[in-house]
């Protein structure tokens, strides 16, 4: 597994902690929504960054009040066909103004990366052999877009009228 940000493989400071594992002292952890609900007070009281891992059927709106205490949301893509994560990423950015890392985990395909970036996903956990070229291509495959997105680039509709 490697973490890719801005088209480069980078060190991952976060530890995914399973629901029944001990929390490692002083380390940035990512926990499931179930663990978060069970241990909320302890987790937000720790002196280390907190990440939340959401399954594709777990909407960010269900933790809206706590998003200010969360520095990373990992969105699970159990299979590439499950596109709920796109809407969840958009909501995190646009509706809740979440400015931490949104990380795609699970079944991420080369050709989905441009869409994911436009929806606000900025971290990707992919297999070690996943080509970085995919991330380079994602920047250039489409020059302009018809829809507004979280990147704030002007749309084609806007560009046409200065």
């Amino acid at each position: 597994m490697k973490l890719v940000k801005n088209a480069s493989a980078v060190a991952d400071d976060w530890t995914h902690v399973a629901d029944d594992d001990e929390l490692p002292e002083g380390k940035a952890v990512v926990v499931s929504l179930a663990r978060f609900r069970a241990d909320r007070d302890k987790l937000v009281g720790r002196n280390a960054p907190l990440g939340l891992r959401l399954k594709s059927n777990e909407a960010p709106s269900s933790v809206a009040e706590d998003l200010g205490r969360i520095a990373l949301v990992a969105l699970e893509f159990p299979i590439f066909r499950d596109g709920r994560g796109y809407s969840h990423a958009v909501q995190l950015r646009q509706r809740f103004g979440f400015d931490g890392e949104i990380r795609a985990v699970g079944d991420v395909l080369w050709d989905q990366i441009p869409h994911m970036i436009r929806c606000g996903i900025d971290g990707f956990e992919v297999g070690d052999d996943f080509p970085l070229a995919a991330f380079e291509e994602a920047r250039t495959v489409f020059t302009r877009h018809y829809q507004p997105d979280v990147t704030g680039q002007p749309t084609i509709l806007e560009l046409r009228h200065g």
Partner: protein, 551 residues
Amino acid sequence: MYRYDEFDQQAVDERVAQFRGQVGRRLKGELTEDQFKPLRLMNGLYLQLHAYMLRVAIPYGTLSPRQMRMLAHVARKYDKGYGHFTTRQNIQYNWPRLVDTPDILADLATVEMHGIQTSGNCIRNVTSDPFSGVAAGEVEDPRPWCEIIRQWSSFHPEFSYLPRKFKIAVTGSEHDRAAIKLHDIGIRVVRNAAGETGFEFWIGGGMGRTPIIAKKIRDFVPKADLLDYATACLRVYNELGRRDNIYKARIKILVHEMGLEKYSALVDEEFARSQGTVKLPDAEIARIQAYFAPPAYETLPATSTAFEARRFEDKGFRTFVRTNVHAHKVPGYAIVSVSLKAPGVAPGDASADQMDAVADIAERYSLDELRVTHEQNLVLPNVKLDDLYTVWKQLSAAGLGSANIGLISDIICCPGLDYCDLANARSIPIADELQQRFADLERQYAIGSLKIKMSGCINACGHHHVGHIGILGVDKHGKELYQLQLGGSGAEDASIGQITGAGFPPERIVGAVETVIETYLSLRHGDAETFLDCYRRVGLAPFKAALYEAR
């Protein structure tokens, strides 16, 4: 007609390059078939029984002669000399090679065409009334709004992996020729009391395994809100639509299970939050509308003596005019339907030569414009009454003169098991046999307006649920069997047909349809009562009795 600007052209060209890369990665083994499949589908490429199949979009059914000639070129160069016009304003090629598809799409891009989102779980090719812009009594030409939706939905980052496919249709007329109530979102262009343009939104219609008529969700969405409101509808669906069962994944099931009120409340909440996000500047609306300005019509008298004389003299022409010629909003002009339902030809199929012929006719006699219909026919939208006779002669010479629009032989029919990987039974041979059985045009006229629609599987591409007479091919213990449905309609009076009972084997289904027809003829109140009206008056029982009790 709309013309691409540099941005549109660049986006389509970039898509071709992207797909070329994807095909390359597939051939090199960097993509498995499982990974490649959704990518090729989003460019309209299927793998069917005999070969790949490429579905090319004809957005909202509008086509220039130049584009039609390109469709003919693709049929000749990359396929076997013909194409199949579908029930969703697309054309399908049945024999392309995977290795050629990037080149095909590149050729199509030179005439502003593509296969983008003609398949896959995304927003599909937006469809419309084939008489848009020329129909008498239209509120407004819906095509500028279709084009706006086409652009907004193309490569949508959030809505490319929906629970299931998503189809949008738009009409500008009271009389619904776009089947908007059988779409995931159906839109009717309306005007409010203040004379402002807006949209009536219908949600959750569809056919398939569970046919449902759409429900009206909003009476009036102002034009500035069109895309924000659609976004809200899609966002709620993307989050909450079922993903556990492919047969329950369409929005119709979500709206049905949740109830319109609850779904509508969630959409309203989302809309309230996101209103104003998708900017649709007035200048952009005006820019797109300008492309659809009426062409340069001549000022002509409402009648034409030459036309009337020809109609009087020539019985064949008279017959053609009766079924295939429709009222135009401009005096002295007519709308001409070109039937792709000639005997012995699969419904919707056209040869490359026929495509070229109709392109020539459109260029010369229809102000450079063509339409395709969801009923698998073509339309010449702007023909002068004075030219009708010549047009008919030229169409006839190309084998396109069938005078059967709206009659029993004007059958909607999916490709069925002769081509389609999903099909359970053949549909084309049944359509062929029906056309032979009812070949006598006098008899067709006596029967009157009748829509037979046939699908070779439950997915209902042949719209059997909304046929006045619907036929569904199924597989029963390895044998083809045909179920009969009566009383459906895809128009403004939309209804779902009722199944008559046990299905019929291939050798008896055409006889069963004939029994239905004979029963109707014996029950109708005068020649003016159509099959559908008669059925709605008398119900299923007498037809059921005639079909099954005599056995």
